[in-house]
Symmetry: C2
Subunit: 148 residues, 2 copies
Amino acid sequence: MADQLTETQETGVFGGLRMTKQRQVVYEVVKDMASEHPTASAVYSVAKERMPNISLATVYNCLETLSEAGAVTQVNIDREASRFCPNLMPHAHFFCSACDAIYDIELREKADASSPWELPEGLKIESVNVAMRGTCPKCGKESCATSK
Amino acid sequence: MADQLTETQETGVFGGLRMTKQRQVVYEVVKDMASEHPTASAVYSVAKERMPNISLATVYNCLETLSEAGAVTQVNIDREASRFCPNLMPHAHFFCSACDAIYDIELREKADASSPWELPEGLKIESVNVAMRGTCPKCGKESCATSK
DNA sequence: GTGAATGCAAAACCTTTGCAACTGG
DNA sequence: CCAGTTGCAAAGGTTTTGCATTCAC
């Protein structure tokens, strides 16, 4: 399964990545915390439990490498610390201003993220980054009950 | 015209903003540099020519205030320094990886930025932020000529 | 064996903050 | 007059870097 990163498999997706213990741990932590979309330091905290000597700089390095290899996506919401996401499907992110949770939002079948936009000719798009902000169902209920 | 920010007009758009020299200068600079989508320090450089005593912190303050008032949009591309944009129409940004330029991309007539996305119910969207990355027409031509 | 990756600490970078002085309404 | 804003310098948080050591292939 594609849930593990080893030197023998995944040579396609992860390219010629040299496989170190640290990279494995970092990748596994991101997978395990996927629903939280952890920051680098959140990853560091958990990674340190599994590998006490790992350093923050190494976590940053690994996350960058994994990002470049396409194994992980770096999610930037405004100027807050980057968060990481192992979901490889094209998707957007929804950030709840109330609880700081991030939700993955899937692209509709056959839809194109750039379709609502008037794209000038000659422009080559490599990636489209979509981040929404608002209130999630959980927090929405509460605020409805209290403020409305 | 809406190009100037004075205490007598624009009370609607700019709310009850106290109008200071610094805010006026900062706003005018952002307008004048609109096509560059300047960073706070780029705004600072130019603002200083017009008002030598202005401080960087004040530029940051003004930009934040103007952002909150809706007169200006803060544009974040990855983790780079925020850039600012006086375009009030709903629009996306296209960032050219080759020359660092930012282009405003208009929303198509009657289109909705969130339409390509499978939105879970109960989620209240307050804003949608769309940033594309790629190569602009100018840089595209060059790279075509040299690399292809 | 060798180039790449790690760990540590220090630096870089953008942005915010504390506080006294000032100013717009 | 007085709350809100400024300027300055110092601090903040996140991320990167330099370099000697270690490791994967």
